[in-house]
C-alpha cells in the first residue's frame, strides 16, 4: 500500500457553496498560500446546486428594507436561539456577496431596468430574496466554481473521500482521504482545515437531501472531539414532492402559490393569519402535518398529502419564475403545475445545528474552521428562514477562507506521524473493508431512516424518542457486524457508503439524545409532551461531545444583543 503525503497550507473539505467561497476568499487574500479543495464529488455535483428559491440580502434600503429588519426576521424565525451578534454581522455582509456573484457572472433574475430582482419568502418581512429563476443554488455554485478556476493557488482534489482528521495539542494538522479513482489512502498535511461538508443529510428517509450528503464532516469532527451544537434542530421543509421528496421551493409560495387541504381551504388562515403560506417553515410544516393528522389531507397512493396550488399563477409566470418546479413536477410526479396542484408534504430538509463555531467560524480546535451547513455559528437557531442558508455559505465561507489565511501566515507544519498513518490504514482496510460479518449496511441505513421518520419527525414525544434512541443504539451495534461486499480498491463506492452509514449512525444518536433531553418546544423542535417554549430553562445552546458510550451533553448561553425574546406570532 502506497501512502502519499500532500502538503498544503490550507485544506478545505467540501466544494459546495461554502467550500468554494472559502477557497476564493483565501486565494484573494493571499496568492502565496497553497489551498487544497477536496471533495468527494466533482464540485458542481454538490448538494448546494439543489438550492432553488434564492438568497436573502438587503439591497434596497431606499425602498424600505433595512439590516435591522433582516436581523429581526432571522432572530424571530430562529425562535430566539440565534446568536444575535453573528446575525447582525451576517446581514451586513451578504449584500456584497450578491454583487460579487453578479460581477463574476451569476445570471441573477432582473427587473426591467436591469437591476437585480428580489422576491418574497417565508418569515422575511420584505421582498429581499435575490434569485436566479428557481435554480439559484445551481447558478451560484457554477459561478463560484468557474471563478475558482482563475486562481492558480487553488488546487482541486475531486473525488477524494475524507476519512479522518488529525489533531495534536488541540491544533489541527491534516486529514486523510481515499482517492476514489485509485482507492489509495492519501494524507493531507495542513496548517489549517476548513470543514464545508454540509448538513446531516440523509438521516431521514423522506428528505430533500442529495444522496451524497451524509454528514461526513460533522461525524469526523465529532469523533475527533469537536463538539456539535444544537443538532436536535432539524428543519422540515413544508413542500417535498411526493413520492421522491424532491424540494418544491418556498418560492412557489413566494410567487403567490397556495396550500390547500382536501376541502380546498387555505388552511394557513387558521395557523398564521397574517403571513399565511409565507410563515416560517416550522410553522407551516406543523400546520400541514396537523391537517394531515386530523384527516383533512388528500389521500393518494403514497399516503396523505397537501395540495400546493400554483394554477392561478398562469403559465407565463410559472415558466419565468419557477421553470425547474414545473419540469420536476412533470418528470417526477407526472403533474403539470400549470394545470393541477402539486402533491406535497413536509420533508426533512436542513440541519440547523452543526460543528460548534464562534462568529468567525473558529471551532474550539486551533486551525480548524467550519462554514456553511456543517457549522452552527449560530445564525439559524432553532429554525432557519428560507434563503438564509445560501447566504450563510457565502458570508461565512468567505470569513473562514480569510481567517484561515491569517492563521497559517508564519505558522509551520506539524507532521502527521507514521503511527497515525499506519493506524488509519489499518482501520480502513483491515478493520472496515477486511472485516467479515453478516449484516448488510444498506439494511441498517433503511432501518435508520425508518426510525428517524417515525420517532423524530415533526411532532415528538419523550416516550417515542426514548424508543428511537434505543433503536439507534441497537443499529450501531449491528453496524459493528457489517460486511462490505466489494473488496477491490478502485472506485469502491461500497466501502464509501458503508462508512457514510457509520457517520450517520453517530449523528442520529446526537440528534436523538439532544431532542430527547430538551424538554421544551422551540422552532423546529416540537414536543407534544412539552408544547411550550421554556426560556427560563432552555434558552441555551446544546453542545454534544463524543464518548464511546454516546454523546455527552453540555450547554452554553445564547448571545442576546438588542432583541429580547417575545412570543412568536405570524
Amino acid at each position: 500500500m502506497s501512502m502519499e503525503v500532500i502538503k498544503h497550507d490550507i485544506v478545505i473539505i467540501g466544494a459546495g457553496l461554502a467550500g468554494l467561497r472559502a477557497a476564493i476568499a483565501a486565494a484573494e487574500k493571499s496568492r502565496e498560500v497553497s489551498i487544497a479543495l477536496i471533495s468527494k464529488t466533482y464540485p458542481i455535483r454538490c448538494h448546494s446546486v439543489c438550492a432553488e428559491g434564492g438568497t436573502a440580502a438587503v439591497l434596497r434600503e431606499d425602498e424600505g428594507d433595512s439590516f435591522d429588519l433582516h436581523a429581526w426576521d432571522t432572530i424571530k424565525g430562529a425562535d430566539f436561539l440565534a446568536d444575535q451578534d453573528a446575525v447582525e454581522f451576517f446581514v451586513r455582509e451578504i449584500p456584497k456577496e450578491i454583487l460579487r456573484l453578479d460581477n463574476w457572472g451569476c445570471p441573477w433574475s432582473r427587473r426591467e431596468d436591469g437591476r437585480i430582482a428580489q422576491r418574497a419568502f417565508g418569515g422575511q418581512s420584505f421582498n429581499r430574496t435575490v434569485f436566479a429563476a428557481d435554480r439559484t443554488g445551481f447558478h451560484e455554485v457554477h459561478t463560484l466554481y468557474e471563478r475558482s478556476l482563475m486562481y492558480p493557488n487553488i488546487v482541486r482534489y475531486d473525488e477524494y473521500f475524507v476519512t479522518n482528521l488529525f489533531i495534536e495539542d488541540n491544533a489541527v494538522k491534516g486529514v486523510s482521504a481515499i482517492q476514489l479513482k485509485t482507492g489509495d489512502l492519501v494524507f493531507f498535511n495542513a496548517k489549517a482545515v476548513i470543514l464545508a461538508t454540509g448538513g446531516a443529510g440523509r438521516l431521514y428517509g423522506f428528505t430533500t437531501y442529495s444522496h451524497q450528503v451524509t454528514g461526513d464532516g460533522l461525524a469526523i469532527a465529532y469523533r475527533a472531539g469537536v463538539p456539535l451544537k444544537d443538532m436536535e434542530f432539524v428543519q422540515f421543509h413544508p413542500t417535498g414532492l411526493i413520492p421522491s421528496g424532491i424540494l418544491m421551493t418556498e418560492a412557489c409560495r413566494g410567487e403567490g402559490g397556495y396550500l390547500r387541504n382536501r376541502d380546498g381551504e387555505r388552511f394557513m388562515a387558521r395557523y398564521a393569519p397574517e403571513r399565511m403560506e409565507l410563515a416560517p417553515r416550522d410553522v407551516v410544516a406543523r400546520a400541514m402535518w396537523t391537517e394531515i393528522i386530523e384527516g383533512r389531507g388528500f389521500e393518494g397512493p403514497y399516503g396523505p398529502y397537501i395540495a400546493l396550488d400554483l394554477t392561478h399563477l398562469g403559465e407565463e409566470k410559472i415558466e419565468e419564475r419557477l421553470p425547474l418546479i414545473r419540469d420536476a413536477a412533470r418528470k417526477f410526479a407526472g403533474i403539470d403545475p400549470v394545470e393541477e396542484p402539486i402533491p406535497v408534504k413536509p420533508v426533512a430538509h436542513y440541519t440547523m445545528g452543526g460543528v460548534h463555531t464562534n462568529m468567525w467560524t473558529e471551532t474550539p480546535v486551533r486551525g480548524l474552521y467550519a462554514a456553511g451547513e456543517v457549522a452552527a455559528v449560530s445564525i439559524h437557531g432553532a429554525n432557519r428562514l428560507g434563503s438564509n442558508s445560501t447566504a450563510e455559505c457565502l458570508v461565512f465561507g468567505r470569513v473562514a477562507g480569510e481567517k484561515a489565511v491569517e492563521y497559517v501566515t508564519g505558522k509551520s507544519f506539524a507532521e502527521i506521524t507514521k503511527e497515525e498513518m499506519l493506524a488509519e490504514e489499518k482501520r480502513l482496510f483491515d478493520e472496515i473493508l477486511g472485516k467479515s460479518g453478516d449484516e448488510n449496511p444498506y439494511e441498517i441505513k433503511k432501518e435508520l431512516n425508518e426510525t428517524m421518520d417515525k420517532h423524530f419527525w415533526i411532532f415528538k414525544t419523550g416516550e417515542e424518542m426514548k424508543e428511537g434512541v434505543k433503536k439507534i443504539q441497537e443499529l450501531k451495534r449491528k453496524y459493528e457486524n457489517i460486511e462490505i461486499v466489494d473488496k477491490k480498491k478502485g472506485f469502491n463506492t461500497d466501502l464509501m457508503q458503508a462508512m457514510e452509514i457509520g457517520f450517520m449512525l453517530d449523528l442520529a444518536e446526537v440528534v436523538a439524545v439532544g431532542a430527547y433531553t430538551r424538554t421544551e418546544s422551540r422552532g423546529a423542535h416540537y414536543r407534544l409532551d412539552y408544547p411550550k417554549r421554556d426560556d427560563e430553562n432552555w434558552l441555551k445552546h446544546t453542545l454534544a461531545y463524543y464518548t464511546p458510550e454516546g454523546p455527552k451533553l453540555d450547554y452554553i448561553p445564547v448571545t442576546i444583543t438588542r432583541w429580547q425574546p417575545v412570543e412568536r406570532k405570524y
Binding site: 454583487l99 457572472g105 445570471p107 413520492p243 407526472g334 461486499v485
Partner: protein, 238 residues
C-alpha cells in the same frame, strides 16, 4: 402497478469487462437510478455508479440506457421498457462499471476560460452591473449546462479526436461570450478557434438531441463558428 424488469449492465472491475443481468420487480414511476440503487443495496453491493441530487441538477448520473446517454434519475424504467441495457458513457475511460473518468472532460471546460472577464474586476468593492431581462435571455439557456457529459458521449468528433474540446466546453465559451457583462470574448475565441476547437465539429447535432437540459450545444457551436470566423479574419488584418 408493478412488473418484472431486466437490467443488463455492462460492468468493468478494473481488469475484465462483462455483462451482468439483474431481474427485479419495478413499480410505476421508479427511475433507472432507483433501479440501480435497488441492485446495489439488495442484490450486489459492488455495483459502482455515480449519483447525487436525483433531480436532474447535479449531472452525476448520466449513463447510456439502450444506447442513448441519459440521466438515470430522470428516466423512468417503464418509459424505456422491460429490458434495459445500461452502459457507461462513451468517449471517456471507464474506471469501474458505470463510472467514467471525467477529469479530461472538466479540463477541457477549464481550458476555454469559462468565467466572466472584466477589466474593472474589483474584489473588495463589487458594484451592481445592469443587465436587462433581454440581455439575460441572450445567454441564459446556455448557462443551464450541468456538465453531465451526455453530449460528449454522443459526439462523433469527440470519438475520433481525443484533443477535441467537445460540445460542452464550447457551449460554455459561447455562454460567456454572449453575456453583456463580459469583456473576454476575443480571448476566448482565440482558445476555441484552433485545431482542437469549433472546426472539428461534424454537425451531427446529436449533442442537442441527447442534452437532458435542452441546452442545444449544436446551436452554440454554430454561433461560435461564425464568431470564430470573424475573429480569425479580424486577427489577420490586425
Amino acid at each position: 402497478m408493478e412488473r418484472e424488469v431486466l437490467f443488463r449492465i455492462r460492468r468493468f472491475d478494473g481488469e475484465k469487462e462483462y455483462w451482468q443481468d439483474f431481474r427485479f420487480t419495478a413499480r410505476k414511476g421508479m427511475t433507472v437510478l432507483e433501479g440501480l440503487y435497488f441492485i446495489k443495496e439488495s442484490l450486489d453491493g459492488s455495483l459502482a455508479f455515480r449519483a447525487s441530487c436525483r433531480m436532474g441538477v447535479c449531472g452525476s448520473c448520466a449513463v447510456k440506457v439502450n444506447g442513448k446517454p441519459r440521466l438515470a434519475c430522470e428516466t423512468q424504467i417503464f418509459d424505456v421498457g422491460d429490458v434495459l441495457e445500461i452502459e457507461p458513457l462513451d468517449n471517456m475511460p471507464v474506471l469501474k462499471d458505470l463510472v467514467v473518468d471525467m477529469d479530461g472532460f472538466f479540463r477541457k471546460h477549464e481550458a476555454v476560460k469559462p468565467y466572466l472577464i472584466r477589466k474593472d474586476d474589483d474584489y473588495k468593492n463589487p458594484k451592481e452591473l445592469l443587465q436587462t431581462p433581454k440581455e439575460l435571455h441572450a445567454y441564459y439557456d446556455f448557462s443551464l449546462c450541468i456538465k453531465c457529459g451526455a453530449c460528449y458521449s454522443a459526439c462523433p468528433a469527440s470519438a475520433t479526436r481525443s484533443d477535441y474540446l467537445g460540445p460542452a466546453a464550447i457551449t460554455a465559451a459561447y455562454r460567456f461570450c454572449m453575456d453583456s457583462r463580459d469583456e473576454g470574448k476575443e480571448e476566448r475565441l482565440g482558445l476555441v478557434s484552433g485545431s482542437d476547437g469549433v472546426w472539428r465539429c461534424h454537425f451531427n447535432a446529436e449533442c442537442s438531441e441527447v442534452c437532458p437540459k435542452s441546452v442545444e450545444p449544436a446551436k452554440a457551436m454554430q454561433k461560435m463558428r461564425l464568431m470564430s470566423a470573424i475573429h480569425m479574419i479580424k486577427s489577420i488584418f490586425r
